[in-house]
Symmetry: C2
Subunit: 165 residues, 2 copies
DNA sequence: CCTTCCGCTTGTGATGTGCAACCGCTCGTC
DNA sequence: GACGAGCGGTTGCACATCACAAGCGGAAGG
């Protein structure tokens, strides 16, 4: 995974792939963005894909170094909280498109689909509302909050799909 | 890269990552989509990232198996042409979002950026025009062609950026 | 003191990657 | 009908990354 190597090319698509295009980085970010997980153990224990702890530690370190996450300094032995940065928050449209694609072209669970469906139906307007919400939670932005939050709506859709199916 | 294993989860985002979320699959698809490369040697020789032939062979094989490419049957020793399938054509919005992100948050070449900029400015309307164009070239669709084609416009933007910078 | 939780680190074996050389096949030319 | 060029790959090797399981030191609570 070429740590600190120069990029293979200056193509913006390749740059994106080099930043988070491995098997785990996007999964970690997805769980922070949509699952609201902020701590190491939260990310590891609740991971539906079952990430190994050494991989998680490595990815968190790398994502901090590449400017997609920040880590609040803590004394050792204390819970360290990870926060999204603005570049990471701007991955929401990427997640939405990936979700729409996976939804259409791969066999997926109808319950986990619910979020992708809602995110697709909401379109860019919903994405930006969600991004503002993330800025409030992770960057301390002072933007006015709406109720119910986008994440609440996404999770409500997930619960509804779980019960009905 | 877990060949023929069951997916790690049924999440649509994870499904997308498992389909093309490695270091090379999207690069290969990008060169077919935007670079109009259809043959093995074309993909290998013109690759700006310098893909190795064994990796290219493996990715082409895997993309065919997973339904993103088709390979025209040919006798050995003869040029084999690869074509995009409908699922692969529907990756255009994903490429657009990845390009927009890379453009904003990573250092990239202004010339290679030109395509991403145009694709972003054009928005979903341009994406769908481009997808129709790809359907014509790769699936033999009978949709009416427009002139100039989207790829011509993308390449013109690239050349303009190359000359002016 | 002892247990529990915290963020990791370490070791091992399996899998994926980059690099360069090589392979069999076919086609056009002499 | 031998030759070289071009075709889509394959092979071998060294190295990086991977998953899995176990363990670590510090902090907090009883």
């Amino acid at each position: 995974m070429r740590e600190a190597n120069e990029p293979r090319s200056e193509c913006p698509i390749n740059a994106a792939i080099e930043a988070f295009g491995d098997r785990w980085s996007l999964i970690v970010l997805r769980d922070i963005v949509f699952g609201d997980r902020r701590y190491f153990r939260e990310l590891q224990a609740n991971s539906i894909e079952g990430i190994a702890s050494n991989i998680l530690a490595d990815r968190l370190k790398r994502l901090v170094k590449s400017g997609l996450l920040t880590r609040e300094d803590t004394r050792p032995g204390q819970r360290a909280r990870y926060s999204l940065t603005e570049p990471a928050i701007q991955l929401v449209p990427v997640f939405a498109q990936l979700g729409s694609w996976g939804l259409r072209h791969r066999p997926t669970s109808s319950a986990l689909n619910a979020r992708a469906v809602l995110l697709e139906q909401g379109g860019p307007a919903l994405w930006h509302e969600f991004m503002d919400e993330l800025r409030r939670e992770h960057l301390g932005s002072e933007l006015p909050a709406r109720s119910p939050s986008v994440r609440e709506r996404l999770n409500a859709a997930y619960r509804a799909a779980t019960n009905s199916s």
